[in-house]
Subunit: 124 residues, 6 copies
């Protein structure tokens, strides 16, 4: 196992323990190694890096997915959950999303707020 894969798994053990198995069960039969690749690349090679704390990393991801528009809705919701798990509070998540109206436009920001409200309601 590569170092990066191990680091990714270690990080997910805290943040979202079932993610790799869920990906593997849905995708690996048709697209071999998909789950392992995603964990190695996104978590091992990126989120596990030094130089920036995980809470800020996750808020930046929420910002980017909001600004890129609603087509990434499912991933925005997962990353809102990850931002909360990394120590951000709900207000901070909403502030990041609303600020994106300057860059991604008003529709993208409103779609992002709706995604966040849905995540918070589900968790309540």
């Amino acid at each position: 196992m590569s170092d990066a894969l191990q680091k990714g798994r270690d990080l997910l053990a805290e943040m979202n323990p079932g993610l790799e198995a869920a990906l593997a069960s849905r995708y690996d039969a048709t697209i071999p190694d998909m789950a392992e690749t995603l964990v190695e690349w996104a978590y091992g090679r990126q989120y596990a890096r030094e130089g920036l704390d995980l809470r800020t990393r996750q808020l930046c991801t929420v910002a980017a997915l909001t600004a890129m528009g609603g087509q990434t809705g499912p991933q925005l919701k997962v990353n809102i959950e990850h931002a909360l798990a990394a120590g951000a509070n709900e207000r901070e998540v909403l502030e990041v999303i609303w600020q994106m109206a300057i860059y991604g436009g008003m529709p993208a920001a409103i779609n992002g707020l709706n995604a966040a409200i849905e995540v918070f309601d589900r968790a309540a």
Copy 2:
């Protein structure tokens, strides 16, 4: 003057004191009130909000502009400078940009790294 415009001006007095005058001199003759509108909306109504610190706000902007792609190059550079002014260090800016390879793709991240290196070199 609206409260929001005042708040925006107060914030820019610290972050980028010449911005409103520069915008006014370039745009207001042809598109009246452009500078004032931008300060009121982007700085007064958004960056001056409570609920999230300015450093995180600026890193989130860097994230979004990177992920949206290189067409926002000039604005990305301005906001990298704002992120440094708000207390982020160069490594944090680079980490945010590189992480965007997961969401905006590898070309967007590389273009973002190039923009940051240019800003840092200019400042050096």
Copy 3:
């Protein structure tokens, strides 16, 4: 109240009288001042400007939301209604959307046509 906020409210009183209250009731508890900010910025600072008639402004918004793609579907539908309220007819709305196939691509145009047909059917 800022001038821009007042202008935005005056404009919405004709175009979509319930919009600010609907936004406030959905968003303001979690993201304070969201509704007021949107009215001030989008309607007071933009749609209420002189120099271009409201019907053309709304058709241009329909064009942009279509070309940017279907992730802005809910906002595209609201702005199709606003375009009709500003004096455009259904054929003009469809022509604008279909023309966007040149710029946003065929899928974006077809998704836009579907959104328009849905709005017109609902109104019928």
Copy 4:
């Protein structure tokens, strides 16, 4: 009838014989000549060109729609079907989609995989 329209119809007679009639019945009453225009432009002037085989053309379309993001979901599904009709196999379609994670980002690739799995399940 233009040569291009004829070429487009000839090509669709093999790939998707009902497409022009389906488009005409849904759109032509409100946006005259829409179906004919699409067939002439997209199939007659593009897919019927020489210089590249149809299977590669369709895989390239799957790549682009995936990378552009989930807002083109319905069109992505139609073009996955067209790629299979042009001789690509399911694995090739999935490989193209997954590779787009490098360019359009991980969320776009995952949304694309989900679209493909839906098409394959429906066909099974």
Copy 5:
């Protein structure tokens, strides 16, 4: 020659008489029929349609290209010229572009303003 190609040529004879020849000389040796296809599709099948006046069509194009971002800079400039040729004035072009800050974000609108100022300066 198809009807659509003839209509496209008739329209360009008024708006931009050298366009087809310029495209043909640059592209047709390597990508046969490129110029003819563009004229037939974009001008004959779209801009020459009834149901909406050319001035509004061109302003809608300016709106869309602005909102889609600066990667379409060269085409934005050509279409600003076409909008002026179709009877729009400079102020109307700028208003359309500035309004796009609501939908495509502030950087896209500012890049659009810069493109317009460049076109107007060149013409002066």
Copy 6:
């Protein structure tokens, strides 16, 4: 060294032997492991996969980068070179790019053609 990193290096040894060193020299001092990560992820985990030949993979990348728009210009040029290195001819590259007018719009396709012509001229 991970298997994926080795596979990526083996592939690049044929396609673009200097790429990793060039990336390392430009980026690794400021963003540690950038070059290694890119080779492992993009080449080892993606282009080196089985299930689709490299020529088709590279043409699909050209398609996606064209449709996503000109902000990825530098990467589009590199991948046009990779497509030629993988066995595609110039005409095939141009056909893929031009076809993208259907999906990414006419401006994106024209910008793509210009990028390809520049690559071919440089090589001539």
